[in-house]
């Protein structure tokens, strides 16, 4: 039986190897160049056996992996060594001293990071942390509210441009008044959040009736329109040229060299991430958060329970946008230069991928997803031109083998002694009838 299966697998791998050899032949073995309007084709025969062998091996591995994935099923929590470990970790974290120690250790690691790893790593960590804030914000919209938003980069842009424009227009006044323009950062931070939230509310109004893919496309349109406006209103925003020499945040009037500036911005970013996590967690576990989630689950039932959907959607978009605005200011401060190219559809997609790959609706997921998505390509740098290819492959692997995300949400459990607790009995096996 096992032997037969092996033979069968080997045979189908051979077929697949042949299939890929043919499929990839024109693009991988032949190479075209055009001179004088004439397409010339060169053959690279040496690649053919490589394709065949690779396809054979990979298809064999792929089939085994899929089978394993299928058999693994959607295990309920509380079985398997890893799950047991996480349960243990969770129950340990429920204890106050342990939680406190863990937080302190985490803080210490975060604080030591720039010294241990130097400027480059600090810098990419800042970028990653900016995306963590973005992902946490988008997670409120997509994960909690269930509203697919492909125009999230627009709010990011609102934030960055709030700081940029403040600098451009209020900066000279600051300088002539003898004030450090770095102060503008601290003014821009709350302003950008609020402005982005207002933009979010404005966007939510026309899209109240839309859901799913239609909502996705309309938010996409909104995002692109914002970018186009930034690009075309050159007199105000600098257009495609952007705004440069944006000051780094004020630090006791010192003009920090880049290394120290990076460390400083890094600490600000860490603090903002902590703030975001704190706020998002509180929202999630509140009357507002539950209403958002109910809206995601079933709009009709939600409304029938007395929840005002209009208000709910307004809150969702504004809350999500707020964090994008904050992240935008941070971006402007880090790069000291902004132009509309940083706020393309691709940016929105990246953030969405971070949320989904991390685990839709899960705070650790959003953090993990964003870190992974932003750090991975940076560590692929040595692979130069291959990195985007590998990145794409990695993403597909994650999503196929972990479709609910790497760190799916762990729902809060309650006991009826009045106080909520983080641990509960393992979930009993539920109804087994197929419900789709």
């Amino acid at each position: 039986m096992e032997r037969n299966k092996l033979l069968r697998d080997l045979r189908s791998s051979a077929i697949i190897a042949a299939w890929f050899s043919v499929l990839l032949f024109p693009l991988l073995v032949m190479k075209v160049s055009v001179t004088g309007g004439q397409a010339l084709v060169r053959f690279r025969w040496e690649r053919l056996p490589a394709i065949a062998v690779a396809a054979f091996v990979l298809s064999f591995a792929w089939r085994r992996a899929l089978e394993w994935n299928e058999a693994r099923g959607d295990k309920p929590s509380g079985s398997g060594p890893i799950a047991a470990l996480t349960v243990k970790a969770r129950s340990a974290l429920a204890l106050r001293p342990i939680r406190l120690t863990a937080t302190l250790v985490l803080l210490a690691v975060a604080a030591a990071y720039p010294f241990a790893l130097g400027m480059y790593h600090t810098n990419i960590m800042i970028t990653a942390l900016i995306y963590v804030i973005l992902a946490l914000g988008l997670n409120l919209v997509v994960g909690l509210g269930g509203l697919l938003n492909l125009g999230y980069a627009a709010f990011f842009a609102v934030g960055a441009y709030t700081y940029g424009l403040l600098w451009k227009y209020a900066g000279p006044a600051f300088v002539s008044a003898g004030l450090d323009p770095g102060w503008l950062f601290w003014i821009a931070l709350p302003t950008a959040g609020v402005l982005a939230a207002i933009f979010g509310a404005l966007l939510s109004l026309p899209v109240l009736r839309l859901r799913g893919d239609y909502l996705a496309i309309i938010t996409l349109a909104f995002g692109e329109i914002v970018r186009m406006v930034l690009q075309n209103s050159g007199e105000v925003t600098g257009g495609a040229t952007g705004i440069s020499l944006i000051p780094r945040p004020w630090f006791f009037g010192l003009r920090l060299p880049p290394r120290q500036a990076a460390t400083y911005i890094y600490y600000i970013a860490v603090a903002l991430v902590a703030l975001t996590v704190f706020v998002v967690r509180r929202i999630e576990d509140s009357r507002v958060g539950r209403a958002l989630e109910a809206m995601r689950e079933d709009e009709i039932a939600c409304e029938a329970m007395g929840v005002d959907l209009v208000r709910n959607k307004l809150i969702t978009f504004s809350l999500g946008a707020f964090w994008a605005g904050i992240a935008g200011v941070l971006l402007a401060a880090q790069t000291t230069y902004i132009n509309p190219d940083s706020f393309t559809l691709w940016e929105s997609i990246t953030v969405l991928m971070a949320v989904v790959i991390g685990g839709t609706g899960s705070i650790p997921g959003a953090i993990g997803g964003a870190l992974l998505l932003k750090l991975l390509p940076e560590y692929f740098r040595p692979l130069a031109q291959y990195r985007m290819l590998i990145y794409g492959i990695a993403m597909i692997l994650v999503i196929i083998f972990k479709p609910d995300g790497l760190l799916p949400r762990n729902r809060k459990k309650y006991t009826f002694d009045g106080s909520p607790s983080a641990v509960g009995a393992p979930v009993a096996a539920g109804d087994q009838e197929a419900r789709r």
Partner: protein, 300 residues
């Protein structure tokens, strides 16, 4: 008036370009409710295959019409094979998983294909030789509509009619409609839904390949990145017309083409995309399921 006519016709031509890609998009969406982000890439691969095969044949001294036919045919075959393979590898394992997962997988495929072609071929723009015939009868009016535009327009119309008829009247079309509405039930009446879904991807990708060859001929150039922009536009067009609806995709594409063209002509091309998006937003606000989309109102 003459100016308007010119703009209208160039909008029509542009619309039919969008439509060629949007048709495959909407078809795949209609059956599996997946925003196939990689569709634009399949179109790009179709173009490249035609360029390579065409170059090979042409240098071997074959007659131009035959080169044209064979390179289109090979583009169709290889793109279809790509579509089929992509579905099996990246979408099928996610069929019963959250819809967002499949969307992410599609984006991943799009990245892989772009970078694959970038690495396997070239990052440069390549000239795309036009093997399309110059139609004599259009010579006097070529200020308004040239041969390639005309051929694209006719092809789009033909494909739309053929697809609509296929779906309406053939056995396979029935199987597709049933699969689109209820996969589970379609299986229970004996439809091989894996076959239907594969076929959908094959047809959609083949259409993309036809689009790839024609549009690249029209633009006169090709590059590994052309699929992304075209894919987004086609997606917008398909949604505008009501995603899942075949005439809707064509209508949506034309509306997009006209809007962009007239907007450019009478206002400014600075905001060309913005006109399209504003129209999209307006239409979706008035009609949340697109112009010809089916009303998806839930039953309570």
């Amino acid at each position: 008036m003459d100016f308007f006519l010119k703009l209208f016709l160039s909008g029509t031509a542009k619309g039919s370009i969008y439509a060629l890609i949007a048709l495959g998009y909407t078809m795949v969406y209609g059956i599996v409710q997946l925003i196939n982000f990689a569709h634009g890439e399949v179109y790009m691969i179709g173009g490249f295959t035609a360029l390579i095969v065409g170059g090979l044949l042409f240098s071997s001294g074959m007659a131009v019409p035959l080169v044209l036919a064979l390179s289109i045919a090979s583009a169709v075959v290889f793109s279809a094979a790509f579509g089929f393979t992509i579905e099996k590898l990246a979408y099928k394992p996610l069929r019963n998983k959250p819809r967002l997962s499949a969307l992410i997988s599609a984006i991943g495929i799009s990245m892989i294909l772009q970078n694959f072609v970038l690495l396997a071929q070239t990052e440069k723009y390549l000239s795309f030789p036009s093997y399309l015939p110059e139609l004599e009868f259009l010579r006097p009016v070529r200020e308004y509509l040239n041969s390639t535009q005309f051929i694209i327009l006719v092809t789009t119309a033909t494909i739309m009619v053929a697809l609509t008829l296929t779906i309406k009247f053939t056995r396979m079309g029935k199987a597709m409609r049933a699969t689109a509405q209820d996969k589970h039930m379609a299986q229970l009446v004996g439809v091989d839904i894996n076959g239907v879904i594969s076929l959908t991807f094959i047809i959609g990708s083949a259409l993309a390949a036809v689009g790839g060859v024609l549009i690249c001929s029209y633009m006169g150039q090709i590059n590994y990145y052309i699929g992304f922009v075209a894919g987004i536009k086609a997606f917008v067009a398909a949604v505008l017309g009501g995603i899942g609806s075949i005439p809707g995709a064509v209508l949506g594409s034309f509306i997009l083409g006209w809007t962009e063209s007239l907007g450019t002509g009478y206002l400014s091309s600075d905001y060309e995309d913005a006109y399209a998006f504003v129209i999209l937003i307006l239409i979706l606000i008035l009609k949340p399921d697109g112009i010809l989309g089916k009303n998806q109102k839930q039953k309570v």
